[in-house]
Subunit: 136 residues, 4 copies
Amino acid sequence: MQTDLLARGRKVLAEQSFSAMLGTQLDAFAPGVAQLSLPVTPKLLQQDGFVHGGVLAYLADNALTYAGGSVLGKVLTSEFKINYLRPAKDAARLVAVASVVGNGKSQAVCRCEIYLESGDERKLCAAAQGTIRKAD
Amino acid sequence: MQTDLLARGRKVLAEQSFSAMLGTQLDAFAPGVAQLSLPVTPKLLQQDGFVHGGVLAYLADNALTYAGGSVLGKVLTSEFKINYLRPAKDAARLVAVASVVGNGKSQAVCRCEIYLESGDERKLCAAAQGTIRKAD
Amino acid sequence: MQTDLLARGRKVLAEQSFSAMLGTQLDAFAPGVAQLSLPVTPKLLQQDGFVHGGVLAYLADNALTYAGGSVLGKVLTSEFKINYLRPAKDAARLVAVASVVGNGKSQAVCRCEIYLESGDERKLCAAAQGTIRKAD
Amino acid sequence: MQTDLLARGRKVLAEQSFSAMLGTQLDAFAPGVAQLSLPVTPKLLQQDGFVHGGVLAYLADNALTYAGGSVLGKVLTSEFKINYLRPAKDAARLVAVASVVGNGKSQAVCRCEIYLESGDERKLCAAAQGTIRKAD
C-alpha cells in the first residue's frame, strides 16, 4: 500500500511541469513523511554560484505539501516559513525530508529539513515549517 | 543614480541562471523597493494547472532579497514566510512588489505581495515577510 | 454598527483574563482593522529593562486575531510570525495596528505593526503576519 | 558546568518581571536545549477558558531564546513563527521544549514544541521555529 502511495506521489510529481523541468525526485512517501531530492545543476544557481534560495524554498514547499498530503489526501499549501542555515554550495544533490508534526481532519502542520548532500556527507542547509490544508 | 541601481539589479538577475531560465524580470529597483515579474508559461505549473507554489515562493524570496539589497548592498536571505491567498491561475503574469519595512545597518525586514495580473486586473495571490542580512 | 463592533470587541477583551491582567486596550475595531495598545509597566519587562519579546508576540497574536475576527466572526489563530526590529525600550505605550491583507470565507491573512509610542513619536518595533481562521 | 548554566539561566528568568509574574520555570538548560514550563492559572486564559495564544507565543519566544542563548551567550530574538495545533485547555501545565537546529557564530536557528501536560499525559499544542542572534 505504501508502494501504491509512492507510485501515486511520483505520478503527481511527473505532472508538475515545474518539478519535471528542475529534475525533482520523490525518494520516499509514506503516511506522515516525504523525501524529495534534486540533483544540483548549473540552471539552479544564482549569481555567486550557489543554488538559488528560491530553489530551496520551492523544495521546502513541495516536500511540506507531500508530507501533509500523505495524511490528508488532496491538499493545498496554506503557508510556510523557511530559515536558511548556510549557502547551498559544494553539493551534488539537495535532499528535503519532511514530516507531519501534528494534524487534524482538515489541516496538518509539517516540518522540513533540507540537506546538502555530497558523497556520503549531509549538511543541514535550511529548515522549514508550514501548514497544509485539505482541498475542498 | 536609481537608473544605475536598476541596471545593476538587472545585471545580477541576468547572472542568476535560475531566474534566467524562468524568465524573471526586474521591473523596478530603488532604495527600499523592488518589483519583479514573471510571465506565466506552462513550465511553471503544477498538476492542477496552477502556477506551482514553489514558483511563488521563489519569486517572494527573490523580491524580498532585492528590496533588502537596495538598502544594504550585498546581502543574504536569512528567512522568510509566505501565505498563499488564492490558487495562481488565470494569470498572464506574476508581479511581486517588495519593500523594506525597517532596517538597521546589518539587517532589513521586508514584505512582499505577489499579484496575479491578467489584462488590467491584479489580484493578490500571496503575501510574504522576511529578513535580509548584509553579507559579511 | 462599527460602534457596536467596538463595544463587542471590548467586551471580549475584558473577558480575556490575560489581557485584563496586562492592561491591554482595544482602541479601534472595524471591518478589516484593529488597534490594540498596552501601557508599558514594570511587570512587562525582561532582564535588560526592555519590554519582553513575549509581550510583543502576545500583542501581535491578539491584534491579528481581532483583525481576522472583524471579517470572519468567531475565530481561531492558526499561526503567525513576528520580526523584531528594535528593542522595546523608552516607550510609554505599545500600539499594535493590524489589518486584513486578504480573506476568503474561512480564513484571513492579516498583518500587524507594533509601534513604540513616546509622546508624539511612534517608532516601528515589530512586524507580524499570520493566518486567522473561522471557528467551526 | 551545566548546573552553572542552569543556575545562570534561572537567575536571568527571575530577572524577567514578566516571566516572574506569569510563573514561568526553567526546567532544563544545557548547550543546545532548554525547557520552560508554566503552570496553568486563571490569569492566563482568554474568553473561552483556553490559555491565551499570546501566552503560548510568549513561551515559544522565551524557550527559543534560551536555546539560542545556550550556544551563543547573550542574545536577541530576531524573529519566530508559531503554529497552533489545538486549543490549550484541560492542562495543568504548559511545557516548552526548544533546541538548536543549526548555528553559526552569530546566529542560531531554533525550534520549539509546546505541550499540554495533564497528569502523565502530554499533547502537542504548538510548534515554533525562529532565529536567535548574538547581542553585539
